[in-house]
């Protein structure tokens, strides 16, 4: 970050841009600075006029004010330019991944070798091992391991396959093995990355609702001070003070909120930029801002709150079945079970001292999990059938076979469930053998993150397919505020709608196609890059890392954006007090000598007072650029404490700083003249 701030190329480019941006057509988008530009032009005319006629005061003084105003404008432009340059640098590095690559387009079953830029939406191409994927798309056939490090920085390859939730591929990533057939899903130049690039480059940047409201407020301040300055002319005349036009103009420019006016767009760009740095692509600046406002956060249990999948933690044999027999049966039934649960059963068995080689499964047949039987297992050579599955399905099988479901098994199941575990019931020849306890492992450190969110005022909601008892247990353990148990995709949607009806803003993260409606409904929908194209289209952000905890970071980035804007506005307005005390006595002191008493800063001379205030007004902009780019630090300490802290720093600081600053500048000017 620091390196970026001092990057030489960026600074040179930005300096050039600050002059280009003087163009009034560009400038008019920033009303406060546009007003300064008008004042600068007026001062230029006054300066030129005063060469021939001394009606408007001395040439030197007019020229100094003109130059100072011009510098103020350039500083403001520079702030915006440097923010854009930093965004651009990041965009460029990503754009490199999109450099033209050859694409194997399939037309009428024949492969045409064309350039990636020629690919259009719904074209189909094929990728072989070693190929760079030429465009964003969806796999329609095949499976491949893909290296996405160019986009995510993550070196471990990922698997993408047709159908399901992992079917989308990103242009610029590399196929490592196998081959896939892909349908292009975006028009050239309209991919997320392209959108993001134009967003940071300012081409498609639109003011957010909040920015508009702030602009109105800043315009109000500008108009108030315009009224003050215009009405001051006859007042001064009445008091018999002859005040040069340069003094009026510099007082005006000092009073209007130029500091925030000059930094406003830089703050906005920097916000998007910070999201970008966190590997999140946003479709609009608004999404980042909304993220800061989030009241409710929907998080999937698996992968976010708990590590991956459940693990077997205990074997419970029922009375009448010996423990070793039971464990052996469990392990045998899991040998060909490739699910994480199955593997964890084998692992637990080994930990209990059972060896794989002791398990005899020759000549047995596997019973695969189907939607119909809803359990899996094995048929041994000696006609022993071992089945394991969820409570309901096994119970049905056992009872249908005319056997009864033992009471102690029921008791075990209730016990496991109430401890947040999931019971996996095992039956041998349609008689209950025992229960395996599966447990979720909560991610270390997740409780702290939720505590932090709670302090921010964000309510966390866990979404899980588990039964309510398990869900409640994990929710309590992880410290989330609410949970949706036995969640179907539409439950997320319903929950979001219900929260929104109460005026809450909701964020969620999702990857599957069935998440798409909820992603669209949520105020901030973050789609994982590994997710389906439908999910990515529905959300307003894409997380390149596909990291479910990223939402927390996004919320902080949004808050920082608003805070930086608010704090610098406060600072800018608070500065006015000192500027009044510098300039007002200065301009009237000759006509009304008694006003010396108001010159509390003991400034050198009327001229130096005006110049010092104007210089301070100009240089405060570049001084605050690093803060505008980095953002005001967010601490989750509650709204009132945060307000107190920021008011002390930027409010009180904003009142005091210019008194000191103007005095120092005045002393330096005093040394020069």
């Amino acid at each position: 970050m620091k390196n970026n701030l001092l990057n030489k190329d960026q600074i040179t480019a930005s300096l050039l841009q600050s002059i280009v941006k003087l163009n009034p057509i560009v400038m008019i988008n920033n009303q406060v600075m546009f007003v300064v530009e008008i004042c600068t032009v007026v001062m230029l005319i006054v300066t030129l006029y005063s060469i021939f006629n001394n009606e408007f005061g001395s040439v030197t003084f007019n020229l100094i004010i003109f130059i100072l105003l011009l510098i103020t404008l350039l500083f403001a432009n520079f702030a915006e330019a440097i923010a854009e340059a930093r965004g651009k640098a990041q965009a460029d590095s990503l754009r490199k991944t999109r450099a033209d690559t050859p694409a194997r387009q399939i037309v009428d079953d024949k492969i045409n070798l064309i350039s990636s830029s020629q690919l259009k939406k719904n074209d189909i191409f094929i990728c072989l091992p070693g190929d760079i994927i030429p465009a964003d798309g969806e796999i329609i056939e095949g499976l491949a391991t893909i290296d996405e490090s160019a986009i995510t920085g993550e070196s471990a390859p990922v698997i993408r396959e047709a159908g399901g939730d992992k079917s989308s591929v990103t242009g610029g990533t590399k196929v490592l093995s196998d081959q896939i057939k892909v349908r292009v899903t975006t028009q050239p130049g309209e991919s997320f990355l392209d959108k993001m690039i134009s967003l940071v480059e300012g081409a498609s940047r639109q003011k957010t609702a909040n920015e508009i409201a702030l602009t109105i407020l800043l315009a109000t301040f500008t108009i108030v001070f315009l009224i003050v300055i215009i009405s001051l002319k006859p007042m001064a005349d009445f008091a018999g003070a002859n005040i040069p036009i340069a003094a009026f103009i510099s007082l005006f420019v000092c009073l209007i909120p130029t500091t925030i006016g000059g930094l406003l767009s830089a703050i906005g760009i920097a916000g998007i930029d910070r999201a970008f740095k966190a590997n999140v692509i946003t479709k609009s600046g608004k999404a980042v801002e909304t993220a800061g406002d989030i009241d409710t956060l929907l998080l999937d249990k698996t992968g976010t709150i708990t590590i991956g999948n459940r693990k077997a933690t205990h074997f419970f044999a029922i009375s009448g079945v010996s423990r070793p027999t039971f464990i052996e049966a469990c392990m045998i039934s899991s040998i060909s079970d490739d699910t994480p649960e199955g593997k964890s059963i084998i692992e637990l068995g080994r930990n209990e001292g059972f060896k794989m080689k002791d398990l005899k499964i020759e000549g047995s047949s596997i019973i695969k999990f189907t939607a119909e039987n809803r359990c899996s297992g094995i048929n041994l050579k000696n006609d022993t059938e071992i089945l394991k599955g969820a409570y309901e399905s096994i119970r049905q099988i056992v009872i249908q076979a005319g056997n009864f479901f033992p009471e102690d098994a029921e008791r075990l199941i209730t016990e496991i469930t109430s401890n947040g575990g999931t019971p996996l019931v095992v039956c041998i020849n349609k008689e209950i053998g025992g229960v395996i306890e599966l447990q979720d492992i909560i991610k270390p450190g997740i409780e702290d993150r939720f505590a932090r969110l709670r302090k921010m005022g964000v309510k966390t909601v866990m979404v899980t397919g588990d039964n309510p008892l398990t869900a409640k247990y994990i929710a309590e353990k992880a410290g989330v505020d609410d949970y949706i148990a036995e969640a179907r995709p539409e439950d997320k949607m319903l929950y979001i709608k219900k929260e929104q009806e109460n005026g809450k803003l909701v964020a969620m993260m999702g990857d599957g196609t069935n998440d798409a409606p909820a992603l669209a409904q949520a105020n901030v929908g973050v789609a994982m890059n590994s997710g389906t194209q439908a999910a990515k289209e529905a959300g307003n952000m894409v997380d390149l890392d596909s990291d479910p905890t990223k939402l927390i970071e996004i919320v902080e980035i949004g808050k920082q954006l608003l805070m930086t804007r608010g704090s610098l506005t406060t600072f800018s307005i608070a500065n006015d007090i000192a500027k009044y005390f510098a300039i007002i006595p200065a301009i009237f002191i000759i006509a009304i000598p008694e006003l010396t008493a108001l010159n509390i800063m003991q400034l050198h001379s009327p001229g130096s007072a005006i110049i010092s205030a104007t210089i301070f007004n100009a240089i405060i902009i570049p001084i605050l650029i690093p803060l505008a780019l980095k953002g005001v630090k967010y601490k989750p300490v509650g709204a009132s404490a945060l307000l107190r802290r920021n008011l002390l720093i930027y409010g009180l600081g904003g009142i005091i700083a210019p008194f000191i600053g103007i005095k120092i500048i005045d002393l330096l000017i005093g040394l020069l003249f």
Binding site: A209, S231, L232, P234, A239, G503, L562, T570, S640, R644
Partner: protein, 563 residues
């Protein structure tokens, strides 16, 4: 000395103590809960029946405003017509003539907007008929208008989400029958006991001890004085207002009148708290207003009590303070306190000449009116404060990283637009006409307006426009203001300064009422904390007061520094 300070301290404590139960009572009245004055219900029902009003009809904010404005227009025409024809109307024992067109225009508007700027003297400029049926009537109805506006606003925040904000006519009538009328009766009776006249007979002709002939004006004074103070109206029966011995004969009458000035404006803050159930918020708002009030009072009291150094150097004793333009029976401290009370509340009655007060007293008096929200006019003072809350909420919301919200309602561009416009209006309608007046003085001839030259003359002009914009009505006098320029210019400012804020504020209330309600969370910024209160205070000072800093420097501050 000690009794003088003890006097205002007692008044102050008593006013605050009385305003709390009164606020509770007012909230009950607007909520329609049981009160001790429920026996008036049949009378009110008859009034509603006669005027064809269904008091239970709920209005949305647009309809509410329409009712408010139409009623005001009606009163304007009423007042204008009566003032123009008062010479031939009954109850005119002294044979006073009808008002000129521009004066009638100014007077009618000035009383209509609860300002009571008087470019005439009551003794000769009005008849008993217009005193009662224009001045006194308006003093009731305009106070009730402001209170009804606030009642609608309270209704807007009393519910979570609502399309309507109550019935304007109902709030209007109840404000009169349940609040203003009973209190006026009480105050009027005390004033009569203290010696304020209440008669329909004409001037008294007497021979003094010296043998010279004297004519003393009188009339139905007590009735008018009571409501003039309670309704933050301020228009006196006599030209000299409450410094006149027949309007304010004793220290006791002064005591009671000063309490009446502050009572309802203070009570309205508590009423908001009781009505909406946000008592803590009401307390913090009250504290900000009270602190500001105490600060400005201290400045003015100190200035008046210390006396004028210029006079001291001319060996005129200032041991009783700056007594020029003040009444001996009242004294400097109580006059300074009144000066603050009357300007802080948009009342505008005076018990001493503001023109003769110390420059820094004039400075804080003008500051009060420029800010116009340290309690402010009945109803509208609180609404003004609310405008600044909107801006404070917006800025502080940004500072804590959340889209700003106030009482569960999100503050967005539209609200900021309205609040900004109202905040901007005040500097504009004070500074622009002041600049124009000064320009005309310097560049045209024959404008014989100023009684004083220099800084003090500037103060007089600034004061007049400030007072008009704030609908205050007090003047520094010394300004020759009964002429076309002043009558017309101040009338325009009066209308703008009254109706634009009311329209904007009721609209704000209505718009926010319609919005979705969001319940509080940990991230929600509390608006009832000391931090937020301080921020609101600073924002008021920066927006409303700082804009006037250059003008104040060139008038009151320059005058003070040259003493």
């Amino acid at each position: 000395m000690n009794t003088e300070f003890l006097g205002i301290a007692t008044q102050f404590v008593l006013t605050v103590a009385l305003s709390y139960p009164l606020g509770k009572y007012i909230a009950k009245v607007y909520k329609g809960e049981k009160t001790i004055l429920d026996f008036l219900k049949p009378a009110e029902t008859i009034m509603f029946k006669l005027s064809g009003i269904n008091p239970e009809l709920e209005m949305n904010w647009k309809r509410f405003l329409k009712a408010l404005l139409i009623l005001n227009l009606f009163w304007f025409i009423w007042g204008f017509a009566l003032l123009m024809t008062q010479g031939i109307l009954p109850l005119n024992p002294d044979g006073n003539i009808s008002q000129s067109l521009d004066l009638a225009f100014n007077t009618s508007i000035s009383f209509l907007v609860n300002c009571n700027l008087q470019h005439y003297s009551g003794e000769s400029g009005l008849t008993y008929f217009t005193q009662l049926f224009v001045v006194m009537l308006f003093q009731f109805v305009t106070a009730a208008t402001g209170m009804a506006a606030l009642a609608g606003f309270m209704k807007a925040f009393g519910e979570k989400t609502s399309k309507t904000i109550g019935n304007f006519y109902k709030y209007f009538i109840l404000s009169i029958t349940r609040i203003l009328l009973p209190l006026s009766l009480l105050v009027g009776i005390i004033l009569i006991i203290q010696g304020v006249p209440m008669t329909f007979e004409g001037k008294i002709h007497i021979s003094t001890l010296e043998g010279s002939h004297q004519v003393i004006s009188q009339g139905p004074t007590a009735a008018i004085v009571a409501i003039k103070q309670l309704g933050t109206n301020g228009g006196g029966f006599f030209g000299a207002n409450s410094s006149h011995p027949l309007e304010n004969p004793t220290y006791i009458s002064n005591f009671v009148e000063n309490i009446s000035i502050l009572l309802i404006p203070m009570a309205m803050v508590f009423a908001f708290g009781f009505f909406t159930g946000k008592k803590k918020l009401a307390f913090t708002i009250f504290s900000v207003m009270l602190s500001a009030f105490i600060i400005v009072t201290s400045i003015s009291v100190y200035q008046e009590y210390s006396g004028n150094p210029k006079l001291e150097s001319m060996s005129i004793s200032q041991s009783h303070g700056a007594m020029e333009g003040k009444e001996v029976r009242i004294g400097t401290v109580a006059t300074a306190y009144w000066g603050i009370s009357t300007t802080a509340t948009s009342n505008g009655s005076v018990n001493g000449m503001h023109d003769s007060m110390m420059p820094l007293s004039n400075m804080v008096q003008m500051l009060n009116m420029q800010v116009n929200t340290w309690f402010g006019g009945v109803g509208v003072g609180f609404l003004n404060y609310f405008t600044f809350i909107i801006i404070a909420v917006f800025i502080s919301g940004l500072m804590v990283g959340r889209t700003p919200e106030f009482l569960g309602k999100k503050i967005e561009a539209k609200e900021i637009k309205i609040a900004s416009f109202i905040a901007l209006l005040h500097p504009f309608i004070i500074l622009a006409p002041t600049a124009i007046a000064l320009y005309l003085l310097l560049n045209t001839s024959g404008n014989n307006w100023l009684g004083n030259e220099g800084y003090h003359g500037f103060s007089e002009i600034l004061y007049e426009f400030t007072s008009s914009a704030a609908n205050n009505g007090s003047g520094m006098e010394g300004l020759n203001d009964n002429n076309t320029f002043w009558n017309i210019s101040t009338a325009i400012i009066l209308v703008a300064g009254r109706y634009i804020p009311i329209i904007g504020q009721v609209a704000l209330g209505g718009l926010l009422a319609e919005k979705q309600y969001t319940s509080d969370s940990k991230g929600t910024l509390k608006t009832d904390t000391a931090t937020f209160a301080t921020l609101t205070f600073v924002i008021i000072m920066i927006i409303a007061a700082l804009a006037f800093f250059p003008a104040q420097v060139l008038s009151t501050i320059a005058e003070h520094l040259s003493l």
